[in-house]
Symmetry: C2
Subunit: 251 residues, 2 copies
Amino acid sequence: MSNRLEVIALAGLPEIEEGMSVGGLVAAAVEDGLRDDDVVVVSHKVVSKAEGRLRDLGTVTPGERASALAAELGKDARLVELILAEARSVIRAERGVLIVETHGGWICANAGVDASNMPGDDAVALLPEDADASAARIRGEIAAGCGSSPAVVVADSFSRAWRVGQVDVAIGCAGLAPFDDWRGRRDATGRELTATVVAVADEVAGAADLAREKDAGAPAVIVRGLGRHVTRERGPGAAALRRAETDDLFR
Amino acid sequence: MSNRLEVIALAGLPEIEEGMSVGGLVAAAVEDGLRDDDVVVVSHKVVSKAEGRLRDLGTVTPGERASALAAELGKDARLVELILAEARSVIRAERGVLIVETHGGWICANAGVDASNMPGDDAVALLPEDADASAARIRGEIAAGCGSSPAVVVADSFSRAWRVGQVDVAIGCAGLAPFDDWRGRRDATGRELTATVVAVADEVAGAADLAREKDAGAPAVIVRGLGRHVTRERGPGAAALRRAETDDLFR
């Protein structure tokens, strides 16, 4: 049982470009070494860059649907074209907000297409195609680089229904149990806990976000003290965090 | 700028009863002292207990609406009666799930009425009536007890639309800027950040939750290293985290 965590932003990563080994660079940047029971949280942005998931708005020609929607929402039509290409369905398009379900199954604003911290005025990043696979690959790269095999979380900032502001959540993970499931276990008074399933991977992503500043270029954070949630196996990944449409009341 | 956080679960708090000073007990339980730039995160459950916000299901007589809804949802009619009494409106009542907007303005399952970690089979806790005021009071109690004036967050576990599992969020805070607002500031490449408002108070609540186990009776957690978000003033509180109905697309 852990009663103390450390959350450590990792300095010294270079600007990431397509083809670079994010895990190798993390392994090289860690000064005190990584442990097998650490969790390394990586911003999706550097994963997208490494995987070549960048687009240049200057090369995008918006179609009719994107142009109409962009006019309605007051958005850049080229951006909306990219968002629609990343979307399985549109959940809401109102009041300047475009919320979709991505092909990967995430429900989020703008399909996660993101223009911040990007080189060039027209460059945007798409989400990794399969961030669970990205996390597993980065885990392997870290192990190859420094011999340790920490859990890896790929995080992105998502808006929420009903609450203002964004929090970082997990869109990919490897080697981390995404949930701490207390159903059937008992609380401190001996009463059975019926509905307590803690989304550990999301809380880890949010905790990591607290340790870095958006302008500091610190895309990797180590969370130490969560060994009880770290697994040798790759595990179900962040895919398990996606609520099935049949269980969902808000789409 | 902080690049390292510590998250420390506080052991040694007694079972909280009505009228007890939660802040005084926190001050007494801290071994290494608290700093003015710490954040103390307290589970709403102990706040509700201290404020007498407990109910005994044995004393509740469900009305007609609660009985009908309970039958439909497969829930205890007495519990549904309490939930409806705490609710300003019902957002969803389907498939065994009852999501409401509380009188305090939170949108959550079961109006936050909670049966875990409660003494007695029929005891349940309601949310504090005004958890921002609770946080401010606890902050004052801590200052009286040990001379330090850390920020205080009152946290509860909320389910989310679209994502499985619960995360802890802030339902009250005092002395903490609930947001880190990057709009108008620039990212590492000099590009203006247009939509980045980090819900710091929620990420702090989630980080604290990682450091405690649901059965360990550790209702208070210190988060150290977030001094840049801690304010001398009480501030806007977690009320600022509630999205106005006019801005919300999911109710």
